[in-house]
């Protein structure tokens, strides 16, 4: 039932081509919970940095976010629906393979995409993400009511203009319904994990990288909210993707 319904949700995305194309593999940027491509990536300087590096950028607003449809049924936010959206988008854009860079919830989905369709992913970057269950201790029937790091995030983003609090709550419940499993590890695809040194939501980032045979980069002084815009993060990713 939900599979059929999933077809009714439209995910909207942007496709930015550099003026001087370099690497032929596009970079897929997956934003975090409660934000969108413009806020998470473009405003944080990523679109411009990748454009300058000659990289084509594909940037979806994940379902429930930004310009995309925002259903309020949590069954429509299971990770496999997001992965199906992303694969449909890649097919529509005629893209075989991407480098995928996720942040927070976007990292979880990058992991799922790479596990489901490893042939479509060349390299993967997981930002603001670790082994910790992001929803631990949160009452998802009433997110934002408690004091967990996720409650704090939820309260901030639910108040942002353009966001639909009910859709975001449904999204949280859908994600939580399939808790993240770091097993089996993601091997065979070069992987990097990046996290702010003060990011409570990215506990276990280094461990996750190690399990997958990847590298871990820590951004000093940064937390979950502000690691994404740091120059050190961008530079680390540009180097990793170019290598």
């Amino acid at each position: 039932m939900s599979a059929n319904l999933a077809g009714d949700v439209t995910m909207r995305y942007v496709d930015l081509h550099p003026q001087a194309p370099g690497d032929g593999v596009p970079v897929l940027l997956l934003h975090g919970f409660g934000t969108d491509f413009g806020m998470n990536w473009r405003a944080a300087g990523w679109a411009q940095a990748l454009e300058t590096a000659g990289r084509r950028v594909i940037g979806p607003d994940l379902r429930g976010h930004g310009t995309s449809d925002k259903p309020t049924d949590s069954a429509l936010y299971l990770p496999e629906h997001f992965v199906a959206d992303l694969l449909a988008m890649l097919d529509e854009s005629g893209v075989d393979k991407v480098d995928v860079v996720g942040y927070s919830m976007g990292s979880r989905l990058a992991w799922e995409l790479a596990s489901t369709a490893p042939e479509r992913v060349r390299r993967v970057v997981l930002g603001g993400f670790g082994t910790k269950n992001a929803f631990a201790g949160t009452d998802l029937s009433d997110p934002g009511s408690g004091d967990t790091p996720f409650d704090t995030v939820y309260r901030t983003v639910a108040a942002l203009p353009g966001n639909d609090a009910a859709a975001l709550a449904a999204c949280a419940r859908g994600q939580a319904a399939r808790p993240f499993e770091a097993e089996p590890p993601l091997t065979g695809i070069p992987l990097m994990v990046v996290s702010g040194a003060r990011d409570a939501l990215a506990e276990g980032a280094a461990e996750l990288a190690e399990r997958c045979g990847g590298t871990h980069v820590e951004i000093p002084g940064r937390d979950h909210a502000n690691a994404v815009s740091s120059r050190a993060f961008r530079q680390a990713v540009l180097d990793f993707l170019a290598g």
Partner: protein, 339 residues
């Protein structure tokens, strides 16, 4: 389901540059000469000198004197030559140096350019764009401050456009020159110099689309060319009084965006049309009629016109009293608000 909402690439996503309208038109001409080897730019002083307003500066140097050339001083022959060049497969972009000098060429423009495609039943298209520095506001001598838009808009077979800012000047010129119909492209001289950050964009709206420059709720100010800027000034002042004015830049004076006018005025319920040309039989009458035809039931007040007076365009010192002033526009707005 997925849906692409933005595709940016080299052409569409050019960097923001600071340009005057002069420079934006120059860029457009340069890009047109580059993209289409059939584009020719000619007129009085457009070559070596680069135009009396420097709009064609550097183009002859870049593209050679076969693509960008000076003609003798004869407006009728400039337009007649454009007809012949078009018949021979070229895409002429003639300049007539000033609005008032278009009158000697009216025979060629009206009798020949405008109807050649019609009279030959499509055998000889006229993809001619006449660039015409137009309107007043620079205290120029007589015959250098005329507004001919009603005359051109009244001529079957012509399309007429007047940009109001550098970004529009660029994309509307691309659109005009690429059109296979003859277009009179009226450049508001008074807006030539102000520099603005501009993203040079490919035209995205179809020919005949207006643009909301400033959204508002209480009344729509309708203008084109330099009067758009005047209306924006008025709207900013009105905002201090708690009056929220929408400014609609008509852009295309033929075809006129009747739907765009209707959409705006049926929301705001009041309209004031502002132009430099004299009142009687000016294009404001056409705009007012379109608004009345399409929004009669929504209108809270009759459409107001603020225009030049029915007098010959005056000498410099009187120009500020002839052109629609801020107070005259504000008074017209007040009349619609208090009707």
């Amino acid at each position: 389901m997925t849906e692409l909402i933005e595709r940016a690439d080299t052409a569409a996503d050019t960097p923001v540059v600071e340009l005057s309208m002069q420079q934006a038109i120059n860029r457009a001409l340069s890009d047109l000469l580059t993209e289409d080897p059939e584009v020719l730019v000619f007129g009085e002083d457009v070559g070596t000198l680069g135009g009396v307003f420097r709009v064609t500066e550097g183009l002859q140097k870049e593209f050679g004197d076969k693509r960008v050339f000076d003609t003798p001083l004869a407006e009728s022959a400039i337009m007649g030559m454009a007809v012949g060049l078009a018949m021979n497969g070229w895409r002429p972009v003639p300049e007539l140096q000033f609005d008032g000098f278009a009158y000697p060429a009216i025979d060629q423009i009206v009798n020949q350019v405008a109807r050649m495609n019609y009279r030959t039943r499509g055998a000889t298209p006229m993809p001619i764009t006449l660039r015409l520095p137009s309107f007043g506001g620079i205290q120029a001598p007589e015959h250098h401050g005329e507004s001919l838009e009603a005359l051109f808009a009244h001529t079957p077979g012509l399309k007429v456009v007047a940009p109001s800012d550098p970004a529009d000047a660029y994309s509307l010129l691309l659109q005009s020159v690429r059109s296979d119909d003859p277009v009179v492209y009226m450049e508001p001289k008074a807006r030539y110099w102000e520099r603005r950050p501009v993203q040079l964009r490919e035209p995205s709206d179809p020919i005949g689309t207006s643009r909301i420059v400033r959204p508002g709720r209480h009344a729509t100010l309708i203008a084109w060319g330099a009067m758009v800027h005047r209306c924006v000034q008025v709207a900013e002042l009105a905002a201090e009084d708690g009056v929220d004015l929408e400014v609609l830049d008509l852009r295309w004076l033929k075809p006129i965006d009747a739907a765009g006018l209707a959409a705006s005025v049926s929301r705001t319920r009041r309209a004031v049309v502002v132009h430099e040309a004299p009142l009687t039989a000016g294009l404001g009458a056409e705009v007012a009629t379109l608004v009345t035809e399409n929004c009669f039931r929504d209108l809270a007040a009759p459409v107001q016109r603020v225009t030049g007076f029915d007098v010959p365009y005056p000498a410099g010192p009187l120009e500020p009293q002839y052109l629609p002033t801020i107070d005259r526009v504000l008074l017209a707005v007040q009349r619609t608000l208090e009707y």
